[in-house]
């Protein structure tokens, strides 16, 4: 009974982590950017979906779409207002650009967080679930929304896989992650590829944010922990490796759920962080890292 409970709850949360981390790792793989405003973009999506549905009464579906759209806009804003100016700058030495991008996106994330807290308070918001009610699975009372969350996450990840492996644009993205110079030599504009990647990222982060808002709820305080969890999942899986992130998401998701059920909810995140430290010692490139 408890084993099933852990299995079911762990799956939903892991799938959500996987979705959140995929976009994060994709951007790093393709453009070498670690976007520390990730959590803020997810929270912005969830809060926008909540506000649209609860304050402006546009309905659950429209609210969810507005949430994703806000994340897309926020992702483009991050790229064009923060990341691109740093990458294009001649005054910042190339070897320092990475640290500038890290700092820039971190501050950008804090700005988004403060704006959300200012307009919508720092208390948690929950997005109205698209499907309500519960079903019994193997004797476990499971909210239908939890199943919905897991299905959407898996579908979106599958779509992403198809996009990257089966379409021309996707292949260009993949190629850019392997050898950016080669892609330019083939006559593809690298900036265009970056825009595509940020668009994919925005949609992924938006869906993950809205689903998280439905499943657990978010507040402006969630910004830091969300960025940290995506960061540790991606580092654990191997920076830039999408499949590594997927595996790592499930490892972290289940480890947290096991701890919460078998030890105490208060220590939920500790074993996963210890595992991260341990992996850093014995395999610094992460589970499936390339470098």
């Amino acid at each position: 009974m408890r084993a099933f409970q852990i299995l079911i709850d762990g799956f939903a949360i892991s799938a959500l982590y996987a979705l959140g981390a995929t976009g994060f790792t994709l951007i790093f793989g393709v453009s070498g950017v670690l976007n520390l405003s990730h959590g803020a973009i997810m929270v912005a999506a969830a809060v926008a979906a909540w506000a649209a549905a609860s304050i402006f009464n546009v309905g659950t579906y429209a609210g969810a779409l507005i949430g994703v759209a806000v994340a897309l806009v926020a992702a483009f804003a991050t790229y064009f207002a923060v990341v691109k100016p740093i990458q294009d700058s001649r005054r910042i030495p190339n070897e320092e650009k990475e640290i500038f991008v890290l700092t820039g996106t971190l501050l950008w994330g804090i700005m988004i967080q403060e704006v959300i807290a200012y307009f919508f308070t720092n208390n948690a918001k929950t997005v109205l679930p698209i499907v309500e009610g519960v079903v019994e699975i193997l004797g476990v009372r499971t909210p239908k929304n939890e199943i919905f969350t897991a299905i959407v996450c898996c579908l979106v990840i599958a779509l992403l896989w198809l996009l990257v492996n089966r379409t021309r644009t996707g292949k260009a993205v993949l190629a850019a992650s392997m050898n950016p110079r080669g892609v330019t030599l083939l006559g593809l504009e690298l900036t265009n590829i970056y825009v595509v990647v940020w668009a994919i990222y925005g949609i992924l982060a938006g869906i993950a944010g809205v689903l998280l808002g439905m499943f657990l709820g978010v507040s402006s305080y969630s910004v830091g922990p969300l960025t940290a969890s995506a960061f540790s999942i991606v580092v654990l899986g191997g920076l830039g490796s999408v499949s590594g992130s997927l595996i790592a998401a499930f490892v972290v998701g289940y480890l947290e759920t096991l701890t919460a059920y078998l030890v105490s909810p208060a220590y939920r995140t500790i074993p996963a962080l210890l595992l991260l430290v341990f992996v850093m010692y014995i395999r610094p490139q992460g589970l499936l890292g390339r470098r």
């Binding site: 709850d9 609860s54 807290a117 929950t126 657990l216 709820g217 059920y261």
Partner: protein, 414 residues
């Protein structure tokens, strides 16, 4: 000899002049506003009502001519729920903005951090919403030093009593409940609350099967509800303030079949309904007042005026903050001055019918010195329930408007 009258004359003239100057300066003093610094969590559900309610009270007092001709000026500071920000705001309020009194915060950790500053800067300080017993205990243990702090809300010990008094009538006598699990967030205010709960719940006939304390950072409450369900209690007794929306929404989404009853600070604000997408339906919470509840003749007009001005009914800390501005004004009037020590003495003699009941403070020899008195004829608190998207009083009988009812997923064991 010849000079004598002229010396006397000159002296008389000088005295008259000095008198005139003094009279003029005291007239200027009288016209000086009474400055009240309000440090609060403007971005939190429970804290947002504090500066709003204080301003409302000040506007009303000023519209009626102020205090002996002196206007009340509210100077607000947002502390971002942080102790460090609050201490800085307190220093600024006293040293630069020259406030006479400070009203601050609903978070016990913040109030405990400010208490020594009230002593150091010798500035009377009242909290509208923190609950920890330690706030008034330290006034008792070192009165001379800490006498500047007043606890304008019930202590955790009194809150536990209030919840148990309500639970006795509503849960034990009416619904024949026998068992409970305590679920509270890990924070300064819940330590004494939990001790109070453990003690009084068994006294009223609710056996405590388990006691779960969780981190205020918790986002996924599934394992907690799961554990509670495993213990099969008749009711969950809550002690939550920093969290509220997430456990409530997950309680509903997961259809946890056990009612929640107790302290849930966020549920006291009307915005909680929207924040939880009405998942609050059926939640029972303790309050000092509530919309449409005539605890005193002042309660309902205040709540309605607040709603007219700010668009929603106030949280519990809104009621207390509103009363505080009034009894501070009353104390200034009785003291005839804003001198800190005189004001402390005047505040100690407070006997004010506010929106939450009759406010008096425990004295030097009581264990909870400077905390508001709990009891019949003073402040008893009440139990309210979210019903049909609104907050309705269900206890005590004299203010109750409706009977308790639960959403369909709640399975009462009897």
């Amino acid at each position: 000899m010849n000079n004598a009258p002229s010396v006397a004359l000159r002296m008389a003239f000088a005295a008259a002049a000095a008198g005139a100057v003094m009279a003029a300066s005291s007239a200027a003093l009288a016209a000086d506003p009474i400055r009240i610094g309000v440090i609060a969590e403007a971005q939190a559900i429970a804290g947002a009502s504090i500066p709003q309610a204080a301003q409302l009270a000040a506007d009303e007092i000023n519209a009626n001519g102020g205090v002996d001709g002196r206007k009340i000026e509210i100077i607000g500071y947002d502390n971002h729920s942080s102790s460090a920000d609050s201490v800085r705001a307190f220093q600024r309020a006293v040293n630069e903005d020259k406030v006479n009194v400070v009203i601050a915060s609903y978070i016990s950790e913040v109030v405990l951090a400010l208490e020594p500053w009230a002593s150091r800067l010798k500035t009377p300080f009242v909290t509208p919403g923190a609950a920890s017993n330690e706030i008034s205990k330290s006034v008792h243990s070192d009165y001379e030093k800490n006498k500047y702090t007043f606890h304008g809300y019930l202590t955790s010990a009194a809150l536990a009593l209030s919840v148990c008094d309500g639970a006795k009538d509503l849960l034990v006598d009416k619904l024949h409940m026998k068992t409970a699990v305590i679920m509270s967030e890990d924070a300064a205010w819940t330590k004494p609350l939990d001790i109070g709960y453990e003690e009084c719940l068994s006294r009223i006939g609710l056996k405590v099967l388990d006691h779960i304390r969780f981190s205020p950072d918790t986002t996924d409450f599934t394992p907690i509800f799961n554990k509670i369900e495993g213990a099969k209690p008749d009711v969950i007794i809550t002690g939550i303030s920093h969290v509220g929306v997430q456990p409530t929404v997950q309680w509903k989404n997961q259809q946890v079949p056990i009612p929640m009853f107790g302290i849930s600070s966020q549920a006291t604000n009307e915005t909680f309904g929207k924040d939880t997408n009405q998942a609050a339906e059926g939640v029972l919470y303790q309050g000092v007042s509530g919309p449409g509840v005539a605890v005193t003749p002042k309660s309902v007009p205040f709540a309605e005026n607040f709603k007219k001005k700010f668009g929603n009914y106030p949280s519990y800390a809104g009621y207390t903050a509103y009363d505080e501005v009034y009894y501070i004004a009353d104390a200034v009037k009785r003291a005839g001055s804003t001198d800190a020590d005189k004001l402390v003495t005047a505040l100690e003699a407070t006997d004010w019918e506010g929106t939450i009941g009759r406010v008096q403070f425990y004295g030097k020899d009581d264990p909870f010195t400077h905390s508001i008195k709990y009891g019949k004829g003073l402040i008893t608190g009440l139990m309210l329930q979210w019903q049909d998207g609104k907050q309705s009083a269900v206890w005590p009988k004299d203010v109750a408007k409706v009977d308790i009812k639960f959403p369909s997923f709640i399975k009462l064991s009897n």
